[in-house]
């Protein structure tokens, strides 16, 4: 359930006796961690939205299914990082199949595509429940990152820092790909004006497949990365999807910078909202989104349609 993220803080009442400064710092670290995870989830969500003009409502399911696959890979004897990569590859394959076999048949009919992704999300949730049952599963933190890192008299949990670092590295790689490569140029052209990109000979249909694979793979990878902190449970998909939705509405669709900034904004809002106003955490999360919708409908970093 959503408060897992708050529980990961410590949860016991003793938490509140620590000096106020440390509490804020803990909250900030948790916010950055969640922001990193959200970026892994919403980068693909945002690119799919920008290119294909549909919110992929199975994206939360990709995150959850990826995490569950990671659980199975781990219990099959793989180590943490291999399991995470294997899960990413498996999710990319599944995402590619969904795009190829289902969404492509409905090309040009955005509403039908959204409804198919919604239907699929119900199916994936139920299949996960069937295979991995309803009990939450916790993945162990990889041994190398179990300790804590002291920085300037404050001790940081290593794994949380690693997640933030990985998110930044992946953001950098995605940016290089989009900004410096031929494929990236084609994707940007597709986001800006898909019909015109088609006219100049870009195979936009193939870009759809690539982006869908990439997005699903990143979401699956993020699911495994998040599992030691969030644990894996039925309903994880429904918890993550609205967060990705807010990130993209805040940041603007199809914008990598928007997804990055939006993820960390949501990470902070979520953790501080949980700690300060636990009952209204959800409302606090959605208020900035509503403000952006009213004042700047294209999102903070989106371009006017």
């Amino acid at each position: 359930m959503p408060n897992t993220i708050a529980l990961a803080l410590g949860g016991s009442g003793a938490e509140w006796t620590v000096p106020a400064m440390t509490l804020w710092l803990l909250l900030a670290i948790n916010s950055i961690t969640l922001g990193g995870l959200l970026f892994l989830l919403s980068a693909g969500f945002s690119l799919i939205f920008g290119l294909m003009r549909i919110p992929n409502l199975t994206h939360g399911s990709f995150f959850m299914l990826g995490a569950y696959l990671g659980v199975s890979f781990l219990s099959a004897g793989l180590d943490f990082w291999t399991a995470a990569l294997a899960s990413a590859v498996a999710m990319a394959t599944i995402g590619g199949l969904i795009e190829r076999l289902l969404l492509r048949r409905l090309a040009g009919n955005a509403l039908a595509q959204v409804l198919v992704t919604l239907g699929l999300s119900f199916m994936i949730a139920d299949i996960c429940l069937m295979i991995w049952t309803g009990d939450p599963v916790q993945i162990e933190t990889p041994p190398a990152l179990r300790g804590a890192v002291p920085i300037a008299s404050v001790v940081f949990p290593a794994y949380r820092l690693a997640i933030a670092l990985i998110a930044v590295v992946i953001a950098g790689m995605l940016w290089l790909m989009l900004d410096r490569t031929r494929l990236g140029a084609m994707i940007r052209a597709g986001v800006d004006d898909a019909p015109m990109a088609r006219v100049v000979g870009i195979r936009v249909g193939r870009l759809f497949s690539i982006i869908f694979c990439l997005g699903a793979g990143l979401a699956g990878f993020g699911g495994v990365m998040g599992a030691p902190i969030l644990s894996v449970y039925p309903g994880l998909d429904a918890d993550m999807l609205p967060l990705a939705l807010i990130v993209v509405i805040l940041g603007g669709t199809g914008s990598l910078v928007g997804a990055f900034v939006g993820s960390f904004i949501v990470g902070f809002l979520y953790n501080f909202g949980q700690a300060l106003f636990p009952e209204l955490a959800y409302v606090i999360l959605f208020l900035p989104m509503l403000a952006v919708l009213v004042i700047r409908p294209q999102g903070l970093f989106g371009r006017q349609a």
């Binding site: 409905l106 039908a112 199916m123 139920d126 609205p242 807010i246 959800y282 509503l290």
Partner: protein, 321 residues
């Protein structure tokens, strides 16, 4: 003429249902179908006639349930509670409409989804108000004019009365100039603007109407279960309502009712044999969108017509040959 006859016949069959369907279990299922049909009809005003697909209607539906349950728990009489609940739902619909009608199409769907999730979040997390995941119990069903609705038969007839009221209102709405102008904003928004219609206002009023009917459905949902939990406001509920509308056929009156009957019956039949209702729901969703996008009722009609045409063509060919 045949249409009116069919309508009268349908009303007769529905009104006498508790007398020939003696098993209370089936009467309860019939009540559920009517409740969900009201929600589907409400959603159909937007998804069908206005071309605006909302994924947040469970929020309005559940909000009415919660508002009524909380008012009753706070000591209000049932009638006051119902009026308060519908007023609150209207206000929420107005807020929904103000925020979501800034856009159409997919953005509209996303904003309504997000707004629905906010209401779900309040029901789920504002524990001191809503009792969180445990939901709220209602001690007794209302007793209008001193008639107890505790028996399945009496409750069914009361629901039927509300249902017929909603259907009649929908009939009038569809046939009215307002209904026609709403369809106009769906098909040709720019032309409607050029003709001097206020497209935004038409959509806004349609949203209020849709929200009100969803609220009525929410009230009866509360009275049926005498209980409401955050699940009533969840995305799954919104999706189920949307499935009813599109499976029956959007933009028709009979479609959402048939869709509601189909989904409720399937839910009961499916749950008797398998646990996996969500899997079935998702699979039907995908199958309908892929193979019968216009809905089951128009889809079946299309198949039947095509078959008849083929048979006639074959007969003509045989005659010529």
């Amino acid at each position: 003429m045949t249409r009116r006859l069919a309508f009268a016949l349908a009303v007769l069959v529905l009104a006498t249902l508790p007398f020939w369907l003696t098993n209370s279990y089936y009467v309860n299922i019939a009540s559920q179908i009517l409740i969900w049909a009201m929600l589907a009809l409400a959603l159909n005003v937007l998804a069908g006639y206005a071309g605006l697909v909302s994924l947040g209607h469970a929020g309005l539906f559940g909000m009415a349930s919660y508002a009524a349950a909380l008012s009753v728990a706070g000591g209000a009489a049932h009638l006051t509670a119902a009026v308060l609940a519908l007023a609150a739902t209207l206000v929420a619909s107005a807020v929904f409409a103000l925020l979501s009608l800034r856009s159409t199409g997919i953005s509209f769907l996303m904003i309504t989804l997000a707004l629905g999730q906010i209401l779900w979040g309040i029901a789920y997390r504002w524990i001191s108000l809503t009792n969180g995941d445990n939901g709220i119990n209602l001690l007794s069903r209302p007793a209008p004019f001193g008639i107890s609705l505790e028996s399945p038969q009496a409750f069914y007839l009361a629901t039927l009365a509300a249902f017929l009221l909603v259907v009649t209102a929908m009939e009038i709405f569809v046939a009215s100039p307002f209904g026609a102008s709403l369809c106009g904003t769906r098909d040709q928004p720019r032309r409607m603007t050029a003709l001097g219609y206020n497209v935004w206002l038409i959509r806004f009023l349609a949203f209020l109407f849709s929200g009100l009917v969803a609220g009525i459905a929410g009230l009866f949902f509360l009275y049926y279960d005498k209980f409401v939990s955050p699940h009533a406001l969840s995305l799954a509920t919104s999706a189920e309502a949307l499935l009813m509308v599109i499976s029956g056929g959007t933009g028709t009156l009979i479609g959402p009712i048939a869709g509601a009957a189909l989904v409720v019956v399937m839910k009961y039949v499916a749950s008797a044999y398998i646990e996996r209702w969500n899997l079935v729901l998702g699979a039907i969703f995908v199958a309908i969108v892929l193979f019968m996008p216009e809905g089951l009722v128009p889809g079946m009609l299309r198949l039947w017509r095509a078959m008849r045409r083929a048979r006639r063509a074959r007969a003509a060919a045989a005659h010529l040959g």
